[in-house]
């Protein structure tokens, strides 16, 4: 059925509005509602999403990811960061590494999978999707040390995952395809570092330009355009240079907030356009979920699900203990890191491109597990925030 894209958008927004308005009656986060809406109107059921929209999903998701990262970056005021920097740093390193190790080891020794395949799954497992976590925090107006640390961890862990993935990929290729050797590994490490520093560099450079020219903006409309424009530029450049969108946008946000005294008017101007974009993002994410792939989850998938969660919780906990974080962080921070989504898929795609034989297997498994994580993740995050005490109960 060929539906016009504008009609599709209209349907998405109106039904999205209904969800937004009435979702609190079901005690689920709004984004879960949007995801389910997306699934329902997607190709597998009502098929109300225009082809054009579906093919634009990638663009929209990159833009929204950048938006979210940008707003996370806003939290990184240098003095505030001094307080939680150590915790964030340690927790994120440990949970990323921890997950990687746990999943790799479990796959290899318990499931008897070839080492290189286990490595890949381990690397994919370390990725965390920030979008869901951030949206849940906003919706429930979670506030507190736990929330700040969680945001920090979720943001920074992308950097670690980049490195981990780069390394794992290189290692796997060495082992499986007998290509190169230590040189390749070194190259991979270098590439990972370059990506990270490249992203940081672009973010800082754009941040300086943004701040420098900021006095040119005099009108309300101008504010929105200026901020949006720079954001899109940062995402676009990151894409062009194959850098991490998340990091670039986040560093842009962090640079701006630290350089500009009047930063609020810029960040606030995005408020007038962000809700429709977020709505679109999550609904399309749902529409792109292939529920059928749930059947491919199988043993591999189930194992992946379980071991990843274990890795996250244990790794994060160790990091929290070492950095002497408060008890509530120690106990619950791992749960906040459960959501996994597009990031995993992107990474899995790269893996697939590199390994013809097992590529398909990896993709199918990851697609299936992503479905589970996307649906369950937000709910678990909300639970964690609640238990940690950062969501105040309604009186």
């Amino acid at each position: 059925m060929h539906i016009d894209p504008i009609l599709s958008l209209g349907i998405i927004f109106i039904s999205g509005f209904l969800i937004l308005r009435f979702i609190n009656k079901v005690r689920l986060p709004a984004i879960t509602g949007d995801l389910i809406l997306g699934i329902i109107i997607g190709e597998e059921f009502l098929n109300l999403v225009s082809r054009h929209l579906l093919s634009a999903s990638g663009v929209i998701s990159n833009i929204v990811l950048g938006l979210i990262a940008f707003s996370i970056g806003r939290n990184f005021l240098v003095d505030r960061f001094r307080k939680i920097g150590k915790n964030v740093f340690l927790i994120s390193i440990f949970e990323a590494l921890g997950t990687w190790i746990v999943v790799t080891v479990a796959f290899h020794f318990l499931l008897k999978q070839p080492f290189y395949l286990s490595l890949i799954f381990g690397a994919i497992a370390s990725a965390t999707a920030p979008a869901a976590t951030v949206m849940v925090i906003r919706e429930y107006r979670a506030q507190g040390l736990f929330t700040n640390v969680l945001l920090g961890v979720v943001a920074i862990d992308d950097a670690w995952c980049l490195m981990i993935f780069s390394l794992s990929l290189a290692l796997a290729r060495t082992l499986a395809l007998h290509l190169g050797g230590t040189l390749l590994l070194f190259e991979a490490l270098l590439k990972g570092i370059l990506e990270i520093f490249g992203a940081i560099g672009v973010g800082i450079a754009l941040g300086f330009i943004f701040s420098g020219l900021s006095t040119l903006v005099r009108t309300q409309a101008g504010l929105t355009l200026y901020t949006l424009g720079f954001l899109l530029l940062s995402i676009g450049i990151a894409l062009h240079l194959h850098l991490s969108i998340l990091l670039t946008a986040m560093v842009l946000g962090a640079t701006v907030v630290n350089l500009l005294k009047e930063e609020e008017r810029f960040f606030a101007s995005l408020k007038s356009i962000e809700y429709p974009l977020y709505l679109l993002f999550f609904v399309l994410a749902g529409a792109n979920l292939e529920l059928v792939s749930l059947k491919h989850v199988g043993i591999l998938g189930a194992f992946y699900l379980v071991t990843r969660v274990v890795g996250k919780i244990i790794g994060a906990r160790i990091g929290a203990i070492i950095s002497r974080s408060p008890k509530n962080i120690q106990h619950y921070i791992g749960f906040g890191l459960i959501p996994q989504a597009g990031v995993a898929l992107g990474v899995a795609l790269i893996a697939k491109a590199n390994f013809q034989r097992v590529g398909g297997l990896i993709m199918d498994t990851i697609i299936g597990t992503t479905v589970v994580y996307e649906l369950v993740g937000p709910i678990v995050t909300k639970w964690a925030l609640s238990r940690a005490g950062d969501i105040k109960k309604k009186i």
Binding site: R218, T219, Q220, A221
Partner: protein
């Protein structure tokens, strides 16, 4: 949950249609901010004057219809350069600058609905009317919040 009439301020400074600019400004000469000023005609609420209405005297009139075309540039006005002769104080009447279409709440409305209405319309205070459209008071977001704090024993 209380009603608007329990929390609103009944003692309101009002003006009439024919109040001129000079009298209007005199009433608020010692105020630090310009509140919402209801315009009444024999107890009935017929208009409101807000800060933005007063600022309008600095801008030469452009047809309202232009505001519906959003892609036209916003008008930058340097109020210090605008020519404002003293006669303006007598010639400009409330009638010329007031809003004739405005948001209100009724005294019997409950506070939650009133607050929602204010939030939705980006207002911090609204006039309160009774069933016959007579002005009975004025209520602001702060009044509602204060009331909440009082009920919870915080003040």
């Amino acid at each position: 949950m209380g009603k608007v009439k329990d929390v609103m301020k009944r003692d309101v400074i009002t003006v009439t249609r024919s109040t001129n600019l000079r009298e209007l400004l005199q009433k608020f000469k010692d105020f630090h901010t310009f509140p919402l000023v209801p315009v009444v005609e024999e107890k009935k609420l017929v208009g409101v004057v807000k800060l933005e209405n007063i600022c309008k005297v600095f801008q030469p009139k452009e047809p309202e219809i232009l505001k519906t075309l959003h892609f036209i540039d916003e008008r930058p006005v340097n109020i210090f350069e605008v020519d404002t002769p003293p006669e303006m104080g007598y010639l400009v009447l409330v009638e010329d600058i007031m809003d004739t279409r405005f948001i209100t709440v009724e005294e019997e409305d409950n506070l939650n609905d009133a607050l929602s209405k204010m939030r939705l319309n980006n207002l911090i205070q609204v006039p309160v009317i009774d069933k016959n459209k007579n002005l009975v008071g004025i209520i602001g977001v702060f009044d509602i919040i204060k009331n909440l704090f009082m009920e919870r024993g915080i003040i």
